[in-house]
């Protein structure tokens, strides 16, 4: 059904990105192996979104490379992305999911089946026929995650998925993400919310002004970061 070779690890080597004449991402290197949740941490404007977009292929690095272990058969991506502000098509909840599946080239029957599974998995079944844009903010983000999940990604990118949500909805999304990791999906998300990073991260990539300043196991990072900027950020004294 799906081919077995994994697209992971993802290797980012000296990736830089230039925009409007400025170097926004400066020679960032890291590897994302299969499994676990990696948090891309840093203040606003550090370049977190750009790094995720470079990884997902929405942007091309101006130097360096973003390489997958296996590029997949038939050109179908096995990584998906959820954005800060949920992008909801002007369609019903289920049509939002089936549209993404159709774009991935799946046939009608499989689309409906996977859509049903995804809506059930994320508690949106009763909302199936409602216009997606009338859902609450939390439900919209849940639908965005369900839509990405339906594509059966090995790696899921999330760009500050809870920054526009209230605490209850945030907690719900965090539980969902923990569930995805338990299911074996590798997750890489950006956040500037320290509490969230502490709750979720297995590993932290700390980004500051377009440079990767620290790449550590989460427990070690929060116990005592080595980089000056990371210490300042944890102390709430940062810096941007």
């Amino acid at each position: 059904m799906r081919d077995t070779a994994s697209i992971l690890p993802l290797r980012v080597e000296n990736a830089s990105f230039q925009g409007e004449g400025r170097l926004l991402i400066d020679a960032v290197s890291f590897t994302i192996p299969a499994g676990g949740l990696t948090v891309l941490l840093g203040p606003n404007g550090a370049g977190k979104s750009l790094v995720l977009r470079l990884c997902h292929g929405l942007l091309e690095p101006s130097a360096g490379s973003v390489r997958w272990a296996y590029s997949g058969a038939g050109g179908i991506k096995r990584h998906a992305m959820v954005f800060q502000k949920p992008i909801m098509l002007r369609r019903s909840v289920e049509a939002n999911v089936t549209h993404a599946l159709a774009a991935a080239g799946l046939a009608g029957a499989e689309r409906r089946q996977r859509c049903g599974e995804a809506l059930a998995r994320f508690g949106l079944s009763e909302r199936a026929t409602q216009p997606a844009r009338l859902l609450s903010g939390g439900e919209q983000q849940r639908l965005a995650i369900a839509r990405a999940w339906a594509l059966r990604p090995e790696l899921l990118f999330l760009d500050e998925p809870t920054s526009q949500l209230d605490p209850a909805a945030t907690r719900q999304i965090e539980e969902l993400l923990a569930g995805l990791v338990a299911e074996g999906i590798t997750v890489m998300m950006s956040t500037h919310d320290l509490g969230q990073a502490r709750r979720l991260a297995r590993r932290v990539l700390f980004l500051h002004r377009g440079r990767l300043v620290e790449d550590r196991d989460a427990a070690e990072f929060f116990a005592g970061p080595q980089a000056e900027e990371a210490r300042a950020f944890l102390a709430g004294e940062l810096i941007w």
Binding site: H56, F83, I87, L89, R90, R91, P131
Partner: protein
């Protein structure tokens, strides 16, 4: 002038379903609806493609299209007249002074409206959808069906704007159709003629139909935007 009698005669034409009157109304609708349909087939994809493409000279194309929205109908009529006249490049087709010629002229009037409004609608939608559509692999021309479908309510309003322009204009259909009784006489050309002849009852009856039509177009446009708002959230 006895306005009471004129109104009475006009209503008698409308209520009595006078055959001449009905023939004029149905020809007008046939010509304009066909023109809008063809303009939609041409204009929706082209407008969407223009929204998504980047090429040198694109701003100039957009300015020209926007300007074409205000193209005087008689000028459009004149262009089609020159093309279709006996000595013109398409003269051998023998289309001048036929309903087909009127459709062609109205297509020329409506296409710029459809392209220009579609471009704007699709460009705005693309700005909002871009990240997600690119993420699921829909880029360039592959994104067009999604964008046209999701813009359907706004696009319906664009088509109704085109319908409004075509149904109200008199210059183009008069020049290329010739206002031949029972063949190319539309509501607007008939009103022009009957008014100058002094047959105000027919002119007024047709005028009332045009006004009702305009009201209906606006009611439908309003309804479309209300339904659209439900989905747009």
């Amino acid at each position: 002038m006895d306005f009471g009698a004129i109104f009475q005669a006009a209503f008698a034409l409308m209520v009595g379903l006078d055959p001449t009157f009905l023939a004029i109304v149905s020809l007008s609708l046939r010509v304009t609806l066909t023109a809008v349909f063809i303009a939609a087939l041409i204009g929706l994809p082209l407008g969407a493609a223009l929204a998504l493409s980047r090429f040198p000279g694109r701003p100039a194309v957009i300015v020209c299209l926007n300007a074409m929205m205000g193209l005087p109908p008689v000028v459009a009529g004149l262009v089609v007249f020159l093309l279709l006249s006996r000595s013109g490049p398409l003269g051998p087709l023998g289309l001048l002074f036929t309903p087909t010629a009127m459709i062609v002229a109205q297509v020329i009037l409506v296409v710029p409206i459809v392209i220009a409004l579609t471009r704007q609608i699709v460009e705005d939608l693309w700005a909002e959808y871009r990240d997600h559509l690119r993420s699921v692999g829909l880029e360039g021309l592959r994104a067009i069906p999604t964008l046209l479908w999701d813009g359907r309510f706004a696009l319906a309003t664009a088509l109704l704007a085109g319908f409004g322009r075509a149904s109200a204009e008199v210059g183009a259909v008069l020049v290329v159709g010739g206002n031949i009784a029972g063949y190319t006489r539309t509501m607007t050309t008939a009103i022009t003629l009957e008014t100058s002849k002094g047959d105000l009852a027919l002119a007024l009856g047709l005028g009332l139909v045009l006004i009702v039509l305009t009201l209906m177009i606006n009611a439908v446009a309003f309804g479309a935007s209300r339904v659209g708002a439900r989905y747009a959230g």
